[in-house]
């Protein structure tokens, strides 16, 4: 009888070992692996209450409430005292309506499975959607829903269902397989492969290797555009705030130097212009002086040249014994302008001759003009006669009479006054007084 006892103990030990393995897997949420171990544990020892209760918990966690109840009820029957299974059963059955809800969702899943297997996937997806909404830990429903989405090539939605499955049962092999297919179709697999390669790379670092920081993220198109725009803005800011002021200062210095050079040249040119203006003024003065001198020489009336010509005409009149013409010409002569000593001697002889007899000729011409009614001509001759010989009361009187005849009494009275004052004891003075009414 020792052998059966040994076999029982040995089976108990093996069962316990599988239970421990199942417990470890359950603790890391490898529920599929845990359930497998726990089933093996119960195959060796059906009385292993912990293994059966844990198997029931795993069924309950994956949404298999009925399966959990089966294990917990059996466990309670096999060990009626100090069994945690009673508490589990109470939790599920004790709250009103909870078990009924569980029953409805499980039944709905079974209907969806039937519809899916009978080529009615749309209705099945609809049913399964409602099931997982109310019973989010129902792994079978998620798995079937993911498969139906994969069948419609809607890998994103399938991935979402599989993600929830793997949150409950991390090592569910079928879920992992479905997920790998979804990732390969959405491009997610490549991203994760790169991340893994970067995270677990053991190759020796080369000089040109780049260590990407953990915060590094793959840029999408618009992010790249945004980064480029931000980079351009920063570059523009650097250019504006750092480069431009230095460049502007450099240009200002260059311009200032050029400006100072130009100003210096302008000043030099201004000085040259001032000098030229001064010389031009001096030359203009010289020119004016020369022009005045030339004008003085060539002037017909008072010029030196004309005076020489006048003198020549006088000499020609003398030569022709035309003394009256010589007298008339002499009245136009300005002897002071002729500086030549030889000429001055001739002029002196002419002046003496004119003072001796020329003034009378002019007085006679004036008388002839007066008699002819040409009073202007007469006054001119009288004035010329007085120019040659001022001390001549007869000419003064005759000239006053002409003015008196022209009713220019002021001039007439002035001349009458000279006769009366300068020659008081003469007959002319008496006549003058008489004319004036003294």
């Amino acid at each position: 009888m020792s052998k059966p006892i040994n076999y029982t103990e040995r089976c108990g030990r093996i069962s316990n070992a599988f239970y421990n393995a199942g417990l470890e897997k359950a603790q890391i949420r490898d529920l599929t692996g845990a359930a497998r171990c726990l089933k093996r544990s119960l195959e060796f020892d059906k009385y292993n209450t912990n293994a059966r209760n844990l198997l029931g918990l795993i069924y309950y966690e994956t949404g298999e409430t009925a399966e959990a109840l089966v294990q917990w009820v059996i466990s309670s029957n096999l060990q009626q005292e100090h069994n945690r299974a009673a508490h589990y059963i109470y939790e599920v059955q004790g709250k009103p309506g909870r078990l009924e809800d569980e029953s409805v969702h499980i039944r709905r899943y079974n209907q969806a499975l039937l519809q899916a297997q009978n080529d009615n996937p749309d209705l099945a997806i609809l049913q399964l959607g409602r099931v997982v909404d109310h019973k989010p830990n129902f792994v079978k429903a998620h798995m079937l829903l993911a498969l139906l989405y994969i069948g419609r090539e809607d890998y994103a939605r399938a991935g979402k269902s599989l993600y929830k499955v793997l949150q409950i049962d991390k090592s569910n092999p079928r879920a992992l397989w479905y997920m790998s297919i979804c990732k390969s179709h959405t491009g997610r697999a490549d991203v994760e492969r790169r991340k893994l390669k970067n995270a677990f790379s053991h190759h020796q670092m080369q000089d040109d290797d780049i260590i990407l920081p953990p915060s590094y993220k793959e840029n999408t198109g618009w992010q790249m555009v945004l980064h480029i725009v931000a980079g351009l803005a920063m570059g523009a800011a650097v250019l504006f705030f750092l480069v431009m002021p230095a460049r502007e200062e450099q240009l200002n210095d260059s311009h200032n130097r050029e400006l100072s050079q130009v100003l210096e040249q302008v000043n030099q040119k201004s000085m040259e212009i001032d000098g030229m203006k001064a010389s031009m003024t001096a030359m203009e003065s010289e020119r004016d002086a020369a022009a005045a001198e030339l004008k003085a020489i060539v002037d017909e009336n008072g010029g030196v040249l004309s005076q020489y010509q006048q003198l020549a005409h006088i000499l020609r009149a003398y030569k022709a014994d035309d003394f009256p013409t010589a007298v008339e010409l002499y009245t136009e002569l300005n002897p002071e302008m002729i500086e030549d000593e030889g000429m001055q001697a001739i002029i002196t002889e002419i002046r003496l001759d004119m003072e001796e007899r020329g003034y009378q000729v002019l007085a006679d011409l004036a008388g002839q003009a007066r008699d002819a009614g040409n009073t202007d001509q007469a006054l001119a001759y009288y004035q010329k006669s007085l120019d040659i010989k001022a001390d001549n009361p007869q000419v003064l009187y005759d000239m006053a009479m002409v003015y008196h005849g022209r009713e220019e009494e002021d001039k007439a009275n002035e001349l009458f006054g000279q006769v009366i004052m300068n020659y008081p004891d003469t007959e002319l003075a008496e006549k003058a007084k008489e004319v004036r009414g003294y």
């Binding site: 076999y7 069962s15 195959e43 298999e64 499980i106 039944r107 899943y109 297997q117 079937l144 498969l147």
Partner: protein, 51 residues
């Protein structure tokens, strides 16, 4: 690649709450110890018959 039909055939209906009782009754609770005990018992009975 997934063979949709084949995969779908792997899915089995879930045990409904109403079926729990039947499931418990139908449960095969035979474990390795029972099998060994049966083998030992059969071996003892055969030995007695031979004697």
């Amino acid at each position: 690649m997934i063979n949709f039909e084949e995969e779908l055939s792997h899915f089995k209906p879930s045990l409904e709450v109403e079926e729990v009782e039947d499931a418990i009754v139908d449960s095969d609770l035979t474990d390795m110890a029972d099998i060994m005990m049966n083998l030992i018992r059969e071996g003892s009975e055969n030995k007695k018959k031979d004697e």
